[in-house]
């Protein structure tokens, strides 16, 4: 039993999530209604979609620091294109540019041999600069009925955004845990030289995972655009660090090769719940961040310690 728990850190994140949620219902005001649950899973889905994508690249020992820029890119481009033509075109163009960013990231890793952190940091910076030029500093807002419905409508009481998130998570479970490419990603995460030597197709795996990650960041940007109705140049900023935090709190090793996509789902819910709890306690921004930082460190110490050091 102990070995099972030690080797299955994704299960830990669900356990901690259940405990925190129970504590919230018992000790805090306003966490016991259906409406509050609905609101939590709806707001968690924005972070959750980005974090599922981040899981794909972290698992192969990568990291994507450009997700924040892609979230903003997709929303800004969609809003702008949609105001010139129609919503569907806007969505298609936004997703296309997101995929393009993923392809560029992967190309830099494969052909220029850049470390993932440097390459994605650079693309993120370039995108942020390009968005300033594209919008001249003032991005437009847009009401796109399709995205509005996606972000705010329900299916049987479950927000559509959450349904989309769970569908994406299911697809990611297949990609990472059931498909051949997923096995390659795990192998790369455990040892890149060994994987290369045993014939893992590194370029294909890198292209698929980084493109999927960028695409999901783009999707999150669209859902966020539907939720708020406006786009801004900084709307993606929180997701850069929070998506990595959600992945790690979900029990995935930041060094790659160990973990589960479903853990990330719990991690994103956990982070959103903790934030909501701290807001409910009426803490100021400063103490709230301090508490969040301390809580994250405590949780990491509880179940995310690494046995190997690199």
């Amino acid at each position: 039993m102990r070995a099972l728990l030690r080797d299955n850190r994704a299960a830990w994140s669900f356990g901690v999530l259940a405990l925190v949620w129970l504590a919230a219902v018992l000790f805090a005001q306003g966490f016991d209604s259906i409406a509050s649950v609905r609101y939590l899973i709806q707001t968690a889905s924005f972070l959750g979609i980005v974090a599922v994508g981040q899981t794909l690249v972290v698992m192969m020992s990568g990291i994507d620091l450009s997700v924040s820029a892609v979230v903003a890119l997709s929303a800004v481009v969609c809003a702008r294109v949609a105001s010139d033509s129609d919503g569907a075109t806007g969505i298609m163009v936004a997703l296309a540019v997101s995929v393009l960013v993923g392809l560029v990231n992967a190309a830099g890793l494969i052909w220029l041999h850049l470390p993932p952190m440097v390459m994605t940091l650079a693309t993120g910076t370039v995108i942020a600069g390009a968005l300033l030029i594209y919008t001249n500093g003032s991005p437009s807002s847009a009401r796109i009925p399709l995205l509005d419905a996606l972000a705010n409508d329900d299916v049987l009481g479950v927000p559509l955004a959450t349904v989309l998130w769970l569908a994406i998570a299911a697809a990611a479970v297949w990609l990472l845990h059931l498909s051949r490419l997923g096995r390659y990603a795990f192998a790369l995460g455990n040892s890149e030289p060994a994987s290369r030597a045993s014939g893992v197709p590194v370029p294909v795996t890198t292209f698929v995972m980084y493109t999927a990650c960028a695409l999901l960041a783009g999707v999150a940007g669209l859902v966020l655009l539907g939720f708020t109705g406006t786009s801004s140049l900084t709307m993606g900023n929180p997701y850069q660090l929070l998506s990595i935090a959600a992945v790690v709190l979900g029990g995935t090793s930041i060094l790659g090769g160990r973990g589960h996509v479903l853990g990330t789902v719990a991690g994103a819910l956990l982070l959103t719940l903790l934030t909501a709890l701290l807001v409910a306690w009426n803490l100021d921004e400063g103490p709230r961040q301090v508490a969040l930082g301390l809580l994250i460190i405590a949780l990491l110490l509880a179940y995310a310690r690494e046995r190997r050091t690199t």
Partner: protein, 313 residues
Amino acid sequence: MPEFLRARLDLVGLCGLLVVVLFAYQQLDPTLLDPSTITILSAQFLPLILAAVGQTIVMLTGGIDLSLGAVLSLGMAVFVVTATDDAGGVLLAMALALVVTVLAGAANGVLVAYAGLPPIIVTLAASFLWGGVTLIVLPQPGGHVPSGLVRAYNMGWHGIALPAVAIAIALVGWKLVRSTRFGMAVYAVGGNEHGAYANGIATGRTKILAYGFAGFFVGLAGIGLAIQTGSGDPTIGVPYTLNSIAVAVLGGISFFGGVGQMRGTVLGALLLGLLTNLLLFTGISTFYQMILQGVVLVVAVAVKTLATRERVA
């Protein structure tokens, strides 16, 4: 290519680039070597240089500091909140700010050394923590920096460029630290942690000291930024996290630790700063500045990786 050039390929390349940029700069702004221009430029570059020095120390141990921007803001906040108008008060505020940032850095170091957590996630979580502490110390932009100090720092004090002097003292300080047993241990721990441990180096203590020293330089950067701008801002440090990593990588510091020299980092910071200023002279919108930064980073690291045929960064 002679052996000594090959071994210093990145430094030689950076120096060459810097000379080209300086030449172009001189053409556009003939006052480049005037004391007043040097004062303004060094005041402008000081925060990035010192932040990158801090990031470099951490990276040399094989770590990375994602909380650097938050700690920089923290140092700035403590300084502007406690500074009074007399010289003693200013010095006291500086000392207090540095103590706080050194302790913040050392706390990161303790978690990295003894908690078994990778540096990237420790400092990621710490960035929330120190960012929050900064907001408690200084909830809104503001605070107080003596106007005389601001003037002397930005306009020159009896013809002396104070920021340039500060940078020089900080770098000489690191040079001295680097030559101690601890300085050697930083490279040893970054190069091969198990080997260093087996050779009797206290790897844990080395890491804590290294993160503490990084906190010291980052705190200096925060104080410099406060004096340059004349006030405090709790979120102004955020971009310095990624910029300091970019500059260190540009300067040839390896992500894996143990490889790279401080002079590379300083050259990288100067290069990036001068290039950004050059862009302003050409009259192109400042919006292109970020694109330039990204492109310079990719090109520099790619050229180096492809030229030396080893994955250094």
